[in-house]
Amino acid sequence: MERDYTLFIPEYIAAGGAVFIIALEMFWPRMRKEYAAYLTALVALAWGIAACFWIDADPETFQGVVTVDDFTTFFRVLGAGIVFVVALQSAHYMRDKVTTAGEYYGLLLIGGCGLVFMAAAREFITAYIALEVLSFSLYILVGYLRRDGLSSEASLKYILLGAFSSAMLLYGISMLYGVTGSTYYDEIAAGLADRSSDTDAAVVIGMMLILAGVGFKVSAAPFHMWAPDAYQGAPMPITAFLSTTSKAAGFALILRLFATALNADPDIWKWAVAALAALTMTAGNLLAIQQTNLKRLVAYSSIGQVGYMLVAIAAIGYGDAEVGLNASSGLLLHIAGYVISTLALFTALTAYYNKTGKDTVAGLRGLAETQPMLAMIIVVSLFSFAGLPFFAGFTTKLFMFQGSVTDELLWLVGLAVLNSFISLYYYLMIVRQMYLFGPEEGLTRFKVSPVLGVVGAALMLGVIAIGTYPAPLFEAAENAATPLFDGANGERAEAP
C-alpha cells in the first residue's frame, strides 16, 4: 500500500495552525483576542483553498483507511468554511467572555479536521477516532465559558451522554466486526453480502447499536435530548459550530457508512432509519413550538432538520443505487444550504447578543426598528429553514425530497413537508417579535461590528444565491455523492 502524505496537506495546515495559535497565545499572552480569531479565519481560508485542489481529482486512498475523493473534498471545504465563519463570529464574543482564547480557536480547527476525517474514513477505527476528535473538541468548546454554570452543565451532559452513546456505537461495531471479521467498509459490505442467515441476530443488533450511536451524534430522536441543553449552554458561536459541524460530520459518516458498508443489506436498517426520521422531525418541530430561548429553539428546529435529512438516508436503503445517488446528492445540497443558513442566523444573533446580551425570542422585540439588516438576515435564514422560496431551504429541501421519493417513502416525504409547514409557525413567531412590535424603551438604532455585518450579509446573499441558482452547488453535491455509488450511472457526473 502506497502512502501519499500529500493527501493531508489541508489538514496539516489546519492542525498546524491550531497548534501555532495555541502556542502563540502561550508566548504572547497580551495578544488581543481578535487577532487569534482573524488568524484562525486565515488558516481556515488557506485550509479551504488547499482543499480545493482536490476538486474533481481521482479518488485516492491512504492505505485504504481514508480516501480523498470529491466527497471528502466537499466536506473539507464545508468544514473550512464553517470554521472560517465561526472564528469571525467569535472574535468579539469571546473577547468579552474569556481570558484565554487560543485553545478555543485551536479546537475549532481541530474539530474541523475531525469532521474531514469522518468524511474521509473508509474504515471503522479511523472513523471512530475522528468522531471522538470532533466530539472532544465540542465537549470542551461547549464548556468553554468556565465561569458559566450553564456552560459547564451543558458540557457535562454532553460528554457523559456522548461517552455512553459511543460505547453503544462501539459495541455495534464490534458485532459487525465479529460477523464480517473486518473494519473496512468494503470488506464489511462483502462480508454482509455473503453471510449465512443465522448471523442475522448479531447483524441486527450491531446495526441498531451503530444507528443509535450515530443517531446520537446527529441528535436524532430519541437520542436527541442532549442537543437542546448543549446548544443553550454553549457560547453562541459554538452553538452555531455545534449545530453545523456535528450535523455535517455525522451525516458525512452516516452517508459513507450506510451507502458503502451497510447498503449491502439495507432491509435490516432502512425501516429503522425511516422510523427515526419520522420521530425526529415530529418531535423536533413540536417541541420547538414551545421554546422561548433562541438557542434552544434553533436546537429543536435543527433536530427537525435532521429528521428531514434522515429521509434521504432512508431513501438510500429503500431505493436502488440511482435513488441513493439522487437522495445523497440532495442531502449534501441540503446540508450545505442548512449550514449556510444556520451560520447566517447565528452571525446575526451573535451580533445582537454582543449589543444587548439577549438570547430569548422576546428579546428580539423591534429588531426591525433598531437594526433592520440583522432583522433581514434573521428572517432570510429562518424562511430558508422553513423552506420558503427565494431562499436556500426551498430549493435544497425540494431537491433532497424529490431525490428521496420512492413509492414506499412518499408517506415519509409527505410527513416531512407537513413538518416543515408546522415549523413555519415558530419561525413566524420570531419574525413577529422583530417586525410587528416596536422596540422596548431606550433601545435605539445601533451599529453592528463591520466584520459581523459583512459576514452576515455575505451569508445571506449565499442563502439567496443557493435559493435562486442552485445548479453549481447541486452539481458539486452530485459529484461528491458519486464516489459513494460508483457504478451507479457515474457518467452523469461528467455531464456539464
Binding site: 426591525a368 424529490q402 413566524l428 455531464a495
Partner: protein, 503 residues
C-alpha cells in the same frame, strides 16, 4: 432575434420588473418615502404597459398555438434525478395567463396608487409588495413546474409581514392564520409535485412534457385519481375553496388596502389558475373523476359565502365572504369541464379581480378617515362622498352581476356551462347571485343613503389618485362587460385545447 424571441423577452421583462423594483428599493434610503413611491409608480406603470402589450399581442386565430411568447433558459439539468431540460426558466403565455397578466398589471398599478398615502416604513412595504407581485407574475408565466411552485410560494412569503406590520383589526391573528393556511395548502402541492415527478419519471419539470405525460397515461389513471385532490385542495385553499376559506374574511379584514386589493384581486386567482394548470391540464383523468366533488364544494361556497355576507357588519367581512362566494363560481366553472364553464371561470377570475380590487380600494378610502368599518356606524355618506359612493355602487353592481359590467359576462358563462352539466347546481348558483343583490343593496342603503349621520360630515371624498385607480378598474370592468369577444377570443383556443374539456 426573431419576433417570437422578442416576445419572450417581453414576458421575461414583465416578470423581472417587480423583482428589479424590489432590489432597487432596497437601496433607497428608508426616510426618502417619496422616492420609494415614485420608483414603485414607475415600475407599476411599466408593468401595466407590458401586461397590456402581452394581452393585446397574444395572437388569436386557428393557426396559432395556445402557448406563445415562450422564453427558455436552462437552470439545472443533467444533475442527479434531473435529466435533459430538468429545470428550465421556461416562461410562456397562453390565453388564460395573458388575461391574468393583464389583471395583475391593472391591480398592481391601482394598488400602488392606493398605497400612496401609506406613510409607515413605506420602503419596506413596497419591497414586500413587489415581491408579492413578482410571485404572482411568475406563477402565471411559468411553464416549468419547479418555477411554478417557486413563484406560487414566493407570492405567499411576504403576506405575513404585509398584513402583520401594516394591517389593522386583529392583524396578528389574521396574518398568522392566512399565512399558515396558504402554506398549509401548498404542503399538499409539494407532495403532489413529488409524486408526479416520481411517477412521470421524465427527469424534467417542464410542464408541457408533464401535461403530455398526464394525457398519454404515463401518469396512470389510479395515480391521477389519487393525487388530483392533493393538487386541487392545495391550490383550492388559496382559491378560498369551501371549507378552507376561513382565512379569507379574517385575512382581508386585517390586510392593508393595497394588499387586500392584490390579494383578493390577483392572489386568490393563483389558486384557480393552479387548479387549471396542475389539475385539469396535468391530470385529466383525475379531473374527470373528481370534478363533481369540486362542483359541490363550489356551489356550497357560492351559497354559503353569499348567505354569510347577508348579516355581516364589517365592510371587509362582507367583501371577504362575497369573495368566497365568487370564487365558488370560479370553481364551479372549472368543475363543469366544459369550454363555456371554464371560460366563464377565467372571465370571473378577471372580473372578480378588478371588482374586488375596487371594493377594497373604496373601503380603504373611507377607513383611512373614519377608522371604523362597521356599516351600522355610517349613513347618508352619499352626501359627503358622492364619487366614493358612485365608484362603490358600480363595484357593487358588478358584484351583483349587472349586464354591461364584467360580472355578468363571467357569471353568465358560468351559469350556462353549469346548466350544460349540472342544471340544479346552475339554478342554485343563480339564486346565490340574487343573494348577492340582497347583501350588496343592504349595505348600500345602510351606508350610502338615508339621512347623513352628522358625525361623518367631515369626511373628504376620494383623492385624485384613488379616483384614477378606481377609474382604471371601472374601465376594465366595463370593457369586459361590453366587449366580450376581446377576452373570449383569447381564451377560446387555449380552453378548447385543454384536455378533457368538452364543448
Amino acid at each position: 432575434m426573431t419576433y417570437d424571441e422578442g416576445q419572450g423577452y417581453i414576458v421575461l421583462a414583465t416578470l423581472l420588473a417587480p423583482l428589479v423594483a424590489m432590489v432597487l428599493l432596497v437601496f433607497v434610503p428608508g426616510e426618502r418615502k417619496q422616492w420609494a413611491r415614485y420608483v414603485s409608480l414607475f415600475f407599476a406603470a411599466i408593468m401595466l404597459g407590458l401586461s397590456t402589450y402581452i394581452f393585446v399581442a397574444y395572437q388569436t386565430g386557428p393557426d396559432q398555438g395556445a402557448i406563445q411568447m415562450e422564453f427558455t433558459r436552462d437552470w439545472v439539468e443533467n444533475t442527479a434525478f434531473l435529466g435533459e431540460n430538468g429545470i428550465q426558466l421556461y416562461l410562456g403565455v397562453d390565453g388564460i395567463s395573458a388575461t391574468m397578466a393583464l389583471l395583475t398589471g391593472i391591480v398592481a398599478f391601482a394598488g400602488t396608487l392606493a398605497s400612496w398615502k401609506l406613510d409607515y416604513r413605506t420602503k419596506d412595504f413596497f419591497i414586500l409588495f413587489w415581491m408579492l407581485v413578482g410571485g404572482v407574475y411568475g406563477t402565471f408565466f411559468s411553464l416549468d413546474l419547479f418555477f411554478f411552485f417557486f413563484f406560487y410560494e414566493l407570492a405567499v412569503v411576504p403576506l405575513y409581514l404585509l398584513i402583520g406590520v401594516w394591517g389593522s383589526t386583529r392583524k396578528e391573528y389574521g396574518a398568522m392564520k392566512l399565512t399558515l393556511m396558504l402554506v398549509g395548502g401548498s404542503v399538499l402541492m409539494w407532495i403532489g409535485i413529488f409524486a408526479v415527478f416520481n411517477e412521470a419519471g421524465l427527469g424534467t419539470f417542464s410542464l408541457p412534457e408533464l401535461w403530455a405525460a398526464g394525457e398519454d397515461g404515463t401518469l396512470s389513471p389510479t395515480f391521477q385519481k389519487t393525487f388530483f385532490p392533493f393538487m386541487v385542495v392545495g391550490c383550492g385553499v388559496l382559491a378560498a375553496l369551501w371549507p378552507f376559506h376561513t382565512w379569507s374574511p379574517d385575512g382581508h379584514m386585517s390586510a392593508p388596502t393595497a394588499v387586500s386589493m392584490v390579494h383578493a384581486g390577483v392572489l386568490m386567482k393563483l389558486g384557480a389558475f393552479g387548479i387549471i394548470r396542475l389539475g385539469i391540464q396535468l391530470m385529466p383523468e383525475g379531473a374527470e373523476f373528481w370534478m363533481p366533488a369540486l362542483m359541490v364544494l363550489g356551489v356550497t361556497g357560492a351559497l354559503y359565502g353569499a348567505t354569510a355576507a347577508l348579516t355581516q357588519r364589517d365592510f371587509k367581512l362582507i367583501s371577504g365572504y362575497s369573495s368566497v362566494s365568487h370564487m365558488g363560481y370560479v370553481l364551479m366553472g372549472l368543475a363543469t369541464l366544459t369550454t363555456i364553464g371554464v371560460t366563464g371561470a377565467v372571465l370571473q377570475m378577471f372580473s372578480h379581480g378588478v371588482m374586488t380590487a375596487l371594493v377594497f380600494l373604496m373601503i380603504g378610502a373611507i377607513y383611512d378617515q373614519a377608522h371604523t368599518r362597521d356599516i351600522k356606524d355610517f349613513g347618508g355618506i352619499g352626501k359627503v362622498m358622492p364619487l366614493w359612493v358612485i365608484f362603490y355602487t358600480i363595484a357593487g353592481l358588478a358584484n351583483v352581476g349587472l349586464p354591461g359590467l364584467s360580472g355578468f359576462t363571467a357569471e353568465f358563462h358560468i351559469f350556462v356551462g353549469t346548466f350544460q352539466t349540472y342544471p340544479v347546481f346552475g339554478a342554485l348558483a343563480i339564486v346565490a347571485a340574487a343573494l348577492a343583490a340582497a347583501y350588496m343593496l343592504r349595505m348600500f342603503s345602510v351606508v350610502f343613503f338615508g339621512p347623513l349621520n352628522p358625525q361623518w360630515s367631515g369626511l373628504k371624498d376620494v383623492t385624485p389618485l384613488e379616483a384614477t385607480s378606481a377609474l382604471l378598474l371601472i374601465a376594465s370592468m366595463v370593457l369586459m362587460g361590453v366587449w366580450w369577444s376581446l377576452f373570449t377570443d383569447r381564451l377560446d383556443l387555449t380552453i378548447t385545447s385543454l384536455p378533457g374539456v368538452t364543448g
